[in-house]
Symmetry: D2
Subunit: 214 residues, 4 copies
């Protein structure tokens, strides 16, 4: 089997994107017998989804995991849901800044990720890597890609599965930006490898709470 | 026209619920010509939605605004979306603690609130009341009621509109719980009145960003 | 007996200072038989201390309580200690921006507040007002005045007592600044009245922990 | 020249202390021509200071750097000042829990660290390691040792210099404790090495702000 893992190019003035820095280290790995293909996608409305679509055509993966930078978060956050709404607080890398526009006109309001998010969180924290379920991927290009990916997969005859993980800033970003939590690149890479392993080896998720009160 | 505003009873060991403390002060008010009906609903799975359903039958409102406590938040947060997922981190007031169960089996993954959330936030902050859009109402009874309300309204021939606002702890809760942000009851009440006024007088929302990167 | 309570003028671009907004409401009150004199002092190095000195000469108070704005804090924070160090992250209202300069050359490294800080915190939280002990008043004009006040009192033959309370932003500031905790003016005023009452009626503090691990 | 770097044993129910995990990796290193001696001290009132005193006698160091765990902080925080106050929120490892007791009866209210704290922070952030100056080391055993160390050095004929750095939780602690920032052990170790190098090669600090407003 094949696995596609995507990471974005840098955005918002940052010189690097920790998602891509980590994802590119997974390229070519064989995890639980599955070959990992790392693919960079642009932080650009629609082009990001097109990049995912192209990778699916090219690698015919069983699992697609998209990864993005979540400045301000301290854990690896495994996203539960993507919503059909682009509301960009900042412009993307080509200047698009939609407000409350659908990603897929007429599409469902949301899709749930089809990876075992609870098992991924349990595996990460069990290996000493801070992680939790997140109930919002925001309304920028990360949510855009998560929704777009799940929409592609929902229309696809093959039973591919997909999801999204947000990663914190790297220490070198936090050192410059001040007062931001961070995570070492090695920890992020280890976490993503584990997430891929759990994703490819588990079709069912665990019945354990990952909820929040609000 | 009539407006229903709901608040929950206390939960999680708290002696009061700031949502209900505020909401009950709106009962009987006439705002922009609309009579406000305050309704308490139980912090109980399905019974909370039944309470909303009953209030809609009883008062035939044009607008329904549900209000809930968001311990840890510092602003009035106007919810954008309710998702079809119950994942209760704690038990509700009758001991229910579902994990990843749908609220409406076979229902859409999510509904977007149909109140003008950007205009509400703008009105609140313009009047000096801390507020912002939220992209997750959690996965407990608050999200449960938001999704349930929007599902009722979506199936309803009448073009009723609905949404949800989360409110912070009251100062007296924060004083006891330690290290929690809070908001004075008078500020919450003023904010909810303004929200109702904006909701009843605006069918269209403003095209201004209320998004988050993640 | 007489009590002096000081508040600063606005700084850092803010149109108001919640400390002065609250403090001025205490002017002329009689609390536990003590007359309160509210005095505005400038957010200016040395001139702030001179303002405190002048108020002491004028009102011959038994207790001096200085109050300042602590943007970002969510509680009323009762300061334990002032340190002999000016390290201004921003310029004061006359453009002074010292780095690591003593407030009183040759003075002790620090003074402890001589008000019953634990009893004040207990009274506030007991009345439902979020409060805690703080172990740093920063290194800007607030700490400057706290140290300066305690230095004046230490050299004074009269056994006057003094301390400092930091107050959060007002809601109207937080609504504009975004993502900041706040406290209603009425809550701050009530808290300061209680603090004065506890200060004038208690020479000894309670032996209860108000410590932090770090 | 010789350098002593101390770390505490675990406390508060944690199975390890990131301070000691990092410090022990420095043992025997030669940094800028200075031999580093790593010394574990107990998280126990007075015994911690005795451990520092014994290490000074044994190694006759030019510089002493004490290191402690700061659960909840996200940066390496270089402490500016130790205060003469023990106010333990939790019991230490032998059950001591003093409230508002002096560390050195009759001692000065505080001592300022005598390491170049601004240069250390600049070196760390310049190397991509999140760091900042802290104006409070708390009121538990960390502050206790910082004050105790500086008191020893102040009474010592030799011009030894000393200071304190707080380190975040390790990822494995944050994964278990939930919702806590963390820093990789390798990053902490690299930061401490840099801090030692800056400390031994700089007697004067830089005139750059490291202040906070409050």
């Amino acid at each position: 089997m094949d696995v596609v893992v995507t990471g974005f190019d840098p955005f918002g003035g940052e010189p690097l994107n920790p998602a891509w820095e980590a994802v590119k280290q997974l390229d070519g790995l064989v995890i639980a017998g599955n070959r990992v293909h790392a693919v960079q996608i642009p932080t650009v409305r629609f082009k990001a989804i097109a990049g995912v679509q192209e990778a699916i055509r090219k690698y015919d993966p069983d699992v697609v995991l998209c990864v993005g930078q979540a400045g301000g978060r301290m854990d690896l956050t495994v996203e539960r849901v993507g919503i059909n709404c682009d509301d960009f607080r900042i412009a993307d890398n080509e200047g698009n800044q939609p407000v409350d526009e659908p990603i897929v006109p007429g599409g469902p309001a949301a899709y749930f990720a089809t990876l075992p998010i609870k098992k991924i969180v349990a595996a990460l924290t069990g290996h000493g890597i801070p992680a939790k379920v997140s109930n919002t991927a925001g309304t920028f290009v990360c949510n855009h890609v998560l929704y777009g990916l799940l929409d592609i997969l929902a229309r696809d005859a093959k039973k591919r599965r997909g999801g999204f993980i947000h990663v914190p800033y790297l220490p070198e970003q936090a050192a410059r930006l001040k007062a931001q939590p961070s995570m070492a690149l090695a920890t992020i890479v280890e976490g993503l490898k584990l997430a891929v392993e759990v994703a490819v080896t588990n079709r069912e998720d665990a019945k354990v709470t990952g909820g929040t009160i609000c």
